[in-house]
Symmetry: C2
């Protein structure tokens, strides 16, 4: 079968929204101001764990300029329940209590009350006037302490899910198990077995834009909410639940978004802004400081993962087992499930077993972070496999190729893979010049692989044809990564018109059908499918209009390069009718032309990647420098290669930060000690080389253009790739991230 | 055929947008402010007619705080052309030159230049610094002067349209002719003939909200325009043409609108705001003063109409003829065509002929005003018919009944009427107690009838089902008259759910398919049809989802009261599935449910009305007071009777203002002398009795609920109804509006 020829798919047009972003003109969450607007601020707990005896808001309310103060008493007291949310189980009791603490505060920074005042300064001053009487409780700050027999209990009503007969209060929220076969049998067949324990720390998504919201409530009880979010429909649904409203009473308008990476798929201040606006009858703006973002919005879990892998002398994996414990933060719900499911997903394994634990402790509740749970799992698995390959004396790529999942392989979590491109990424890595380039002294090269499911979920899109034949692509998924231009390109391809004649916009929750989060690497895949369907709907209508004009059977009209072509031998030999002409005549031929599609997308093609990382290690300072990095990823088909590369580069950069510098540092009372970008060490441009993104295109057969999600997979391999490279450079196997200079230095010193 | 039973159609739910409107919270055109926003102001001509020798903007540009100054030189110099606009022929050369004068100013107040500055005050000061060198020309201020042989010519290139061989420059822009038969023959058959000339003056639509716009242009050349308008898509199209842009480069977001009445269906400042924003890179707000609204936005034509009507002694109309001359203002395009078409439309006439003239003169260019052209035509026709009935000694209603158009009657302008309710309005008027109520001294009763076509045109709508089973109705027609709640009611009826569970919103030009103006009494009719289609699309999808769950044929599923009912004898006897349950399960059954419809609506049912007016005339002061007013109108079917009554009351109030007090007063140099609501006498609540709106429901067979347009017809009869009542009270036939106290007094004095 020959490759399809495309006009726009695979090209690199400039995204129109880029101009406003680079010149600082784009409107982000905090950029809206309304007449009469109040400023909201949140009072946060100074304790990691305490009972709230009482809250006296009267002194704050008496402060001139203060218009309202709210506490958990102003929210419905929701019963615990697990309702299927957009991506994960959402317990609205937990969500409500994370939005405003009720009875207890569970982490340092936990929201306790919110104030709306005529200025930011007055609001901040009023916070200090709120008197909270706390009974301070012992804080649970690490997994051992959380799981100890005499551990202080965060939630008296929490029982372990997934364990028979667990009826005692506990901090262990869930136990899960993934796998098949008989791992003991598998390990017995192994010639070499590696077993090790790996740990990672809480890290933050580190989006540049803090959470920001403006809410305006009308006299009819209807509220309009502007905010930066990955999911306006999720904000609507969650706020409605927390506030006891109908979703139809809330309209969410998404602003531009300065990064989300999973962390902007839930709510924090949004219901408070609505509540304060309903109370005061005025618009209320709430913008977090960076410190608030760190202290009170979702990082991802710190983890402890024990891995055991075995292989024959010839390099065939015989078994893999793991025990993974993930920090959930103050409320249940770490990404232990996807972490466990993805851990060994790239490999053919007859015997595999992963036991996972979700543990609550007195830290902020975690949120999704790019391929949730998977990077830490891959850090453990790919480090262990690296060691196994070394012990076997095998090239690490050859070792993986010998065990690589292919079409038809049964994934550890159940289903068989369809057409996937994992082997292609390994083969591309092996033949790439990077893999055999010479290394200098104190340098090392590591490789690691990664997997992410990618998801489909629900999307709606419309394609509105303008009267001049230009088109507007309307979707409801905030643009995190260039998805507007990408969706426009698919529509341009279908319509056969120049990309400059297609504009893509993100609508709000009242002007487009339901859309799930911009998350799970799903927008170009699932919303793209909806756009393609909607554009084909437009083409069908245009062809029908042309057929009516020519008085021929619509089935006989062909659409090509933006024109309807008459059937051979049509009466009067009519000329082709272009889209602009058909649009101009729409009023006479039946009215406006609008294509629409809504779907629950299935068949998101899994994404696999192989990364090569070169590091140098400064033996004086312990500093690890990334010298070269090449990421090979099966992207299905890259609609806009530039933004696919950008996704891969961004994911790798985040993974490198996680590997080398990022971590929440806690003091003994459970306060984060580094809640700012000076002390929380994210990599900046000067810390990194150019990340070389190599796009491997193994089209996903379920998408009309072969798209697979690409946004999350790149964040999976870097932790292990860096650690494996540092091992190659130093001979030391690092099992505890980050590989920050003091830690590396200590290890090197202990070696000598 | 029994009457259909409805749950919501015909009820009076509260409109949700009403709360914000009565509390002052709703956002109108001037209510948006953006960071860094500039203020734009327009320099206007101090002459009614002058050549512009030169414009020196440098001193204005040098004013601190002034960021840009534009003149016609900054706009493309468009060639004259007539392109089919949304409702009428739009000549974009004229439109451009009305937006900014080029070469000549043509009326006092004509825009000459626009300034953007950091404050309103600076902008106003900068206007004074612009030096315009005018060569003042003689002004043409009335129809006689305009049509005189030696008249000063406004447009050197204007030739009379509709006249063979007219090749001389002229102020007569067009001659039209409507009619059939042989009027001379008809008049020869008449026993009584009445011939009279009637005049009316320019009056303004008098919307409370002045024109207001904020434009923000991005780095990519794309502009967002917020404004109060009857047609965001028309603003987009017109601005694009005037500025030489593609429509897709402009997004128009309609604000709430404080009245339009036809006058907000075109553009004035909007392209200037876009241009100034493109120049400065900052948002630009422009808000007219009331004086600017009067001086430079569309009033409707002053007119002179000579009418001749004849009837047999038995009261059968034998012929009707008229010569109508309408002021177009500075650019061609008075409503002479619809005025002529509607003049005798309520009557059966074998012989009818109307000759119409469109005349330019040095006054502001007219714009559409509620049933454009028709009220003045009806003033002339219905006054003459009143006189004819009196001369025949017939009851005026009986006389009209004897000649009334019915289903199948050929309208004077061509087509045959379908099912219409004119006779029903006459009969209802005749049997209403008002018609026979006793009158006091110096009181009189008049009746008059009126007709308006009503239009269909293009509409798009979507019905988005939320995940809780509530629905959003999305349309693109600004809500002038309660159309949001009306559209929501139709959707609630189709879906079978409570009206509280349906929310209707007006989307912008990028999030809904094309929509023509909110005008021509078309929204409830045409957009309503689209909403009904879209809601039925939702019901079809819901039924299909239920069928899939039940594993039955979708054709066998019935939808009733918001629930899908399984077919008799379905396996397992399933329970009905409600909309909320089906919405909740949408993700699992195929994705979001969105209904969509776009159409070019045909078959707008014509609207007829009969009005009864009682006046008393104060013989001391000449003041005419409206004592009682009852309007009978065929409304097809009233979806929300409260808002239909409101439309009728509003239209009558405007007609009464036109009849009794409103007029543009000019000084000798062509400046309007009364450009404010103190001196321009619109009726206020205390000037009027409660207008009794009697809804006659003769369903329009082409609309699923029988809707006819209702907004314009009520403005047609009042001029004549009032004048006929004053005749009854005084015995004087007034042929020149308004019947202001001095004029009435003068007539009464001359009588005595």
């Amino acid at each position: 079968m020959s490759e399809p020829r495309y006009k726009w798919i695979g090209t690199r047009p400039i995204r129109p929204d880029g101009f406003d972003k680079v010149t600082g003109r784009a409107s982000f969450g905090a950029d809206l101001s309304l007449p009469g607007m109040l400023y909201g601020k949140v009072l946060r707990s100074p304790h990691a764990h305490a009972r709230i005896r009482s809250i006296d808001v009267e002194p704050a309310l008496a402060t001139p300029g203060v218009k309202a103060v709210v506490t958990a008493a102003d929210l419905p007291d929701l019963a615990s329940e697990a309702v299927r949310g957009a991506e994960t189980q959402t317990d609205f009791q937990d969500l409500s209590r994370n939005v405003l603490a009720r009875d207890k505060v569970l982490y340092h920074g936990h929201a306790v009350a919110a104030v709306a005042a005529t200025s930011r300064t007055i609001a901040e001053r009023a916070l200090q006037a709120i008197r909270v009487d706390y009974e301070v409780l012992p804080a649970v700050l690490d997994l051992d302490a959380a799981l100890a027999d005499d551990a202080p209990i965060l939630h008296e009503d929490l029982r372990t899910k997934g364990v028979e007969g667990a009826d005692q209060p506990t901090n262990l929220a869930a136990r899960i198990e993934i796998g098949r076969g008989d791992v003991e049998k598998g390990f017995a067949e192994a010639d070499v077995v590696v077993e090790r324990e790996f740990t990672t720390r809480m890290v933050h998504q580190g989006y540049i834009e803090p959470h920001a919201v403006v809410a305006q409530s009308g006299e009819d009880g209807h509220s309009v909410v502007w905010c930066c979010t990955q999911g306006p429909f999720v904000v609507r649904a969650y706020c409605a639940r927390i506030l006891g409203l109908d979703p139809s009473q809330i309209r969410v308008i998404p602003s531009e978004i300065g990064g989300g990476f999973g962390g902007k798929g839930t709510i924090y201040q949004e219901p408070l802004a609505i509540l304060l606006s309903r109370r005061t009858g005025r618009p209320v703006k709430m913008v977090m400081t960076r410190e608030e973002v760190f202290r009170a919005t979702g990082p991802t879990s710190g983890t402890r993962i024990r891995v055991k892998v075995g292989a024959t002398a010839k390099g065939k994996l015989t078994a893999a087992a793991a025990t993974a414990i993930y920090e959930a933060g103050a409320f249940k719900g770490s990404p232990i499930l996807p972490g466990s499911m993805t851990m060994f997903a790239p490999y053919v394994l007859e015997h595999v077993r992963i036991e996972g634990f979700d543990v609550v402790l007195n830290k902020p509740k975690v949120a999704a972070y790019r391929a949730p749970g998977s990077a830490m799992a891959a850090f453990a698995a790919e480090s262990a496999l690296d060691e196994l390959a070394i012990r076997l004396g095998m090239d690490p790529i050859d070792f993986r190729l010998a065990n690589a999942a292919r079409e038809g392989t049964e994934a550890p979590y159940g289903p068989r893979f369809g057409r996937i491109g994992f082997v292609e990424t390994l083969e591309a890595a092996k033949r790439h010049p990077h893999y055999t380039a010479a290394l200098g002294p104190d340098q090392g090269r590591g490789i690691a692989c990664g997997f992410w499911f990618n998801v489909g979920l629900q999307s709606s899109a419309a394609v509105n044809l303008n009267e001049d034949g230009t088109a507007v692509v309307v979707s409801g998924c905030p643009d995190l990564s260039g998805t507007r231009i990408t969706l426009a390109m698919m529509a341009a391809e279908e319509l056969g018109i120049p990309i400059e004649r297609v504009r893509a916009v993100v609508a709000d929750t009242e002007t487009i059908g339901y859309n799930d989060l911009s998350a799970g690497s799903r927008v170009t895949f699932a919303t793209g499918m909806a756009v393609v369907e909607a554009a084909r709907d437009v083409v069908r209508q245009l062809s029908a209009r042309a057929a009516a004009i020519w008085e021929v059977d619509p089935q006989e009209v062909r659409w090509e390069e933006g024109r309807a072509l008459p059937p051979e031998g049509a009466a009067g030999k009519p000329e082709p009718l272009g889209i602009a002409e058909l649009a101009r005549r729409a009023a006479q031929t039946g009215g406006p032309i609008v294509g629409q599609a809504s779907l629950a997308a299935r068949g998101a093609g899994p994404g696999f990647a192989t990364h090569i990382c070169d590091v140098s290690v400064d033996r004086e300072t312990g500093r690890v420098s990334i010298e070269r990095y090449t990421a090979f990823q099966d992207v299905g088909r890259a609609i806009h290669p530039g933004y696919v590369e950008g996704q891969i580069q961004g994911g790798v950069a985040q993974g490198i930060g996680w590997a080398l510098g990022e971590e929440y540092l806690w003091n003994s009372s459970g306060a984060m000690e580094n809640p700012g970008f000076l002390d929380y060490r994210m990599p900046v441009a000067s810390d990194l080389p150019m990340i070389d993104a190599q796009l491997i295109e193994v089209p996903n057969p379920t998408h009309p253009y072969g798209v697979r999600g690409v946004g999350e997979t790149p964040n999976v391999p870097p932790l292990a790739a860096v650690a494996n490279a540092v091992h190659a450079a130093t001979g030391r196997r690092f099992t505890d991230l980050p590989l920050s200079p003091p830690r590396v230095l200590e290890a090197l010193d202990s070696e000598e």
